[in-house]
Each structure stands twice: as C-alpha cells, then as structure tokens.
Amino acid sequence: MGDSGTRLAVDPNDRVTIGISFGNSNSSIAHLVDDKAEVIANEDGDRQIPTILSYVDGDEYYGQQAKNFLVRNPTNTIAYFRDFLGKEFKSIDPTHNHASAHPQESGETVAFTVKDKAAAEGEEEEEEPAPSTLTVSEVATRYLRRLVGAASEYLGKKVTSAVITVPTNFGEKQRAALIAAAAAADLEVLQLISEPVAAVLAYDARPEAQISDKMQVVADLGGTRSDVAIVASRGGMYTVLATAHDYEFTGVALDKVLMDHFAKEFLKKNPKAKDPRETPRSLAKLRLEAEATKRALSRGTNAAFSVESLSDGIDFATTINRLRYETLARTVFEGINRLVESVVKKAGLDVLDIDEVVLVGGTAHTPRIAANLGFLFPQTTRILAPATDTSAINPSELQARGAALQASLICDYDPEDIEQSTHAAVTTVPHVANAIGIVSPGPSGEEVFVPIIPTDTAVPARRTVQLSVPAGGDVLVKVVEGNTHIKVTKPEPAAKENGESKAAKVEDADEDADEDDSDFSDEEEEEEEEKREKVWKIGSTLAEAAVRGVKKDGKVEVSITVYADLTVVVTARELGGKSAVRGTLPSA
C-alpha cells in the first residue's frame, strides 16, 4: 500500500472484518454473509449513514440524527469533512460547511470548534463548558468509532479491521491521515481501495457474473462530487485508464435547484414573508426537505414538499412532478453527461468502445441521469442503474459491498503479505497496446479480425477461444495484432439545416451543449444519423500455425499467453484431439 503513518496491526486469527465506504455526505458498512456482501443497517435502521457528528449537552450524535440537528444546532454539528483529511487549510474548499461548524486553520491541518462537553453538574448554571477544537483527524476518528460500533453491535462481536474506499485522487497524505484516524479509533485498515474499483468488484463478485473482458465507465455521482473513471476490466483484473473529478454537477446542486424552486413558490404564495433562503434556520429546513423531495422523485413521478414554519412562522406544503424537476435540473444533468463524455475522450476512447456504464452513488438513483447516459452511448452499452437495468445493484451500496468483499479476500493475510501484494513491483506491469487475435474468413472472403487478448490487458495474460471448422480438414491459425478505428458513414444528402446528429453531438458536445435547448431524448428519432461503427483493422502478423485433419463440424481451441517479458506462446489443437501445435514468439 505504501501508506506511511500510524497503522494498527491485528493478528489475522483475531480479525473481525468489514468494508466501509466513507463519503463526504454518507458512509456505509458492509460484511459478508455466505460469501455475499451485505450492507449493515445501523441502530437507526439506516444503510446510508450521513457522515455527520453533532454535539448536544455533551452527547454525541452521528448519522441521520446528527443531520437533523443541522436545523437546531448547526454550529455544533460537523459535516462534509472527509475530503479535508490530510490537507492544509489553504487547500480545502469549505463551500459546503457554511450551514454547520466552520473549518478553521489549525497548524498543518484543519479543525472545527464545537461544544462537545456537558455543563458540569452542580456548578453554577451560567458556567458554560469550554468549547473544544477538534482536528479533522479527531473528527474522523470519532465518526469511524461510531460506524465500527454500529457494525460490532450488529455482528455481536468487536470489529477489528476494515477495507475502506477512497476516491482515486486521494493523495498519499490523505491516505496516511485516514489510516491514522482509523488506528486512533482502534480500527486496523487492511487496505484502502479506490471507490470505482470497489463498485466494479461488487458487480463481478455476484454468483451469476461472467468474468469477461470489458471496458467500463464508472460514474460515481455523490453529494458534493461526481467522480468518473474508465476501467479496463480484463479477466477480473482492473486498470484505471482515466479519471475526472467534478464538484459542480452534484447531488447538492440538485438540492439547490429544488430549494430555489420551492423558495420562489413560497414567496409567490406569501409575498410579504421573508425569503426562507435568507435565514439560516429556514434555509436548513428548506435544504433538508428539498433533498427528501428529490429522493422521492427518483421513486415516484410526483413528490410532496412540506415544511412546518418554513419562514415567518408560515407552514408550506406543495407538490412537484418529475417532469418539472427534470426541466429545472437540466443544466446539472447535462453537466454530468459532458463529464462522462470528457473522461471517455481523455482515455483515448470513443463511446462505441464502452461496454458498460456502472452508476454509483446516491445521485445515481435519478432516473433521468441514467436515461441521459443511455442516449450518450450506443444501444449495446449496458447502463447499470436501477432505472435502466432491473438487475442493477443499489448504487448507494456498491462501494461498501466491494470493500467488504476485498476485506474477506485478504483477512488471512499478514500485513507484510498485503504490503508485498499491493507493491508497485507487482501492480505496475506492461499492458498490451494492440489487441492480439486471429483471422477468420468473412462472408465475402475478406479477413476478419477475431480479438482474443484485447487492448489494455495487463501481462502475464492468457486467453483461450474455440472456433468452428464446419467443413473439416486442414485449417490455418493466423495470429495477428489488431486495432480499432471509428468508421463514419455520412447519411444521404437529404440535408437538414439545424438538426444535429447524435454522433456530431458526441464530438462537439463541449461547445454545443450550453446553447442547445432541445431535449436530449427528443432529438433521437427524427434525424437521419451519421452512421458510426467500430471496425477492426488487422496489423502485423505474429505467427501462423496449422491444425490438420479436423473432423467435419469440429472445433479448434486456440490459446494465447503473453508473458511478463512480452514473449507470446500460441497453442492450437482440435477439441478432443490429442496433439497440439505450439510455438513461442520472443518479444521483438
């Protein structure tokens, strides 16, 4: 892992492990039941546990209870602190802390000042206990202690160790700070794993999952950030090809859209009342209820908004339908699409290269976001979100589940084993830039490339395929390198002036999306689209082999292994046949 800093070590025989996802907005805890990862509900029955602590009369509250105190006790409530771990005050963004305890500079780190102690008993009433200044590490320790407490209570034994997920841009200092904060909470961090990879593992660990080679986009849409990663998933091994991090098109931005909408509607009905956005307490109520309404709009096509004494003592209740919400939130939704597009490009890929889009995070429940991403990719791309795929896993649970799975995989490892297995000497390896495959005769006699080892596969790698030999006899196994390009066929010149095709949109989205006011979905049907397809181009030949005397309707199995030094070994044999043809190609 290479994270320096204080770390706790527990004897593998004594470990009780869980997986933790630790977000700025919410956290989750998960464990394994009969090899299946399950997210644990805490004492309040919550599986998404707000990452918030609140102090009232010396009592510490966390999770949803602490979140509710944002209305009545904001200054003693600490929220949105995960990203501050291991950071200096001058490099943090305190935007989301306006309505709760404010972060402040404290030496090399960030701290919050809250009244976390009760007034001493028997003393004079006025004697207020002194407030405490808690470093962000101390806050993280206290919060993790509560998560571990909830998990221990649920499991009936003390949790000792965990795998925790972190964003792909979590730096070395942040990792070290998190590990130390966990150690101070008496929790051994077995490994920190990256959030998108945890999500992908949660899918691949399902019993019905087929381990294959696929290119995935992991879009993690949370509260304060949206993180996207391109993951080359190769035989169950994962390589992150590109990432992007956005702090604008987020769940909080969607809350803001609804807050403004309801505030305006309130003022229209109560023209003399004070704008609820102008008093902290009204604003806090508005925010909590707007978020609840937003979530309800993921489930139903109508949702209620109702706050007692919203502003100037006036109650306010109304409803909103999903369509209205989607219109209001359009800029945010489009920003998410552009973000995803930009990462695909950053990885040097085309939308046609993407096999799966895995949606992660609370905001990924939003049906419109999943639908819009569907329009960005070809129909063959699977969009794994609750709104588009009934087999999708709850996007809010993916990371914690992945962490729990990883924890169970390494719970018997000594710290040195983990250290060695995750060391750069083992993880940093050559990846083939071209695909390796064989040639099959196409319908009109041309050579068709059949990929066997795809691009961006880490070596050593081995893949085996079976091909048919309908006519029987002697066949040629021609091993070649291959690569793809995007072939664009222009439609017949029945020209349209201002319509733009989906394909053109994909390329120019950065410039166009702002001005374009028609809806993503409506454009689809009407237009004659430019046809874009991914085609294989055959590159240099690596080897030829003959498999002789194959029986009619027989099958030939071809296996290609690429070793760490890029030596290639090819074997080919008739299925059920005895002898195999085998050859070695040294790296050129």
Binding site: Y238, T427, V429, A458, T464, Q466, P470, K478, L542
Partner: protein
C-alpha cells in the same frame, strides 16, 4: 477465464503451406507497443496474479 466460444470459422490451410512442426513464427510484440500501467490491487483475480508474480509461478503451475 474459461474458453470463449466464438461462432466464426477458421480459414482453410492454403495450398502448399508447410512449416516445421506446423508452426511459423513471424513477429512478436514490440516493447514499444506495451505501456506500463498500474493494476488495481483488488479482487480475487488480482490476488491470483500477485501470488503468481511473488512466487514466480506460471498460469499452468497455478492451475494444478
């Protein structure tokens, strides 16, 4: 990974094709066509990779 079944045929061996032990090496993967990247140290397949790398084992030795 298990063998993938591909519903495509193999071409017939061209007339007169000959090679020692029926295998003809023609090229190889060049160092420049491989990129050093970092595998995520996560999941059962990575751990199998790490085990092979640390114990210098091949795929076939691992299969046994």
């Amino acid at each position: 990974m298990d063998a993938t079944v591909i519903s495509l045929p193999l071409p017939a061996l061209p007339e007169g094709w000959e090679a020692e032990k029926d295998f003809r090496a023609i090229g190889g993967i060049t160092k420049s066509s491989a990129t050093a990247r970092t595998l995520e140290p996560v999941g059962p397949h990575f751990l199998a990779h790490a085990r092979r790398a640390r114990h210098k084992r091949t795929f076939s030795e691992d299969d046994r």
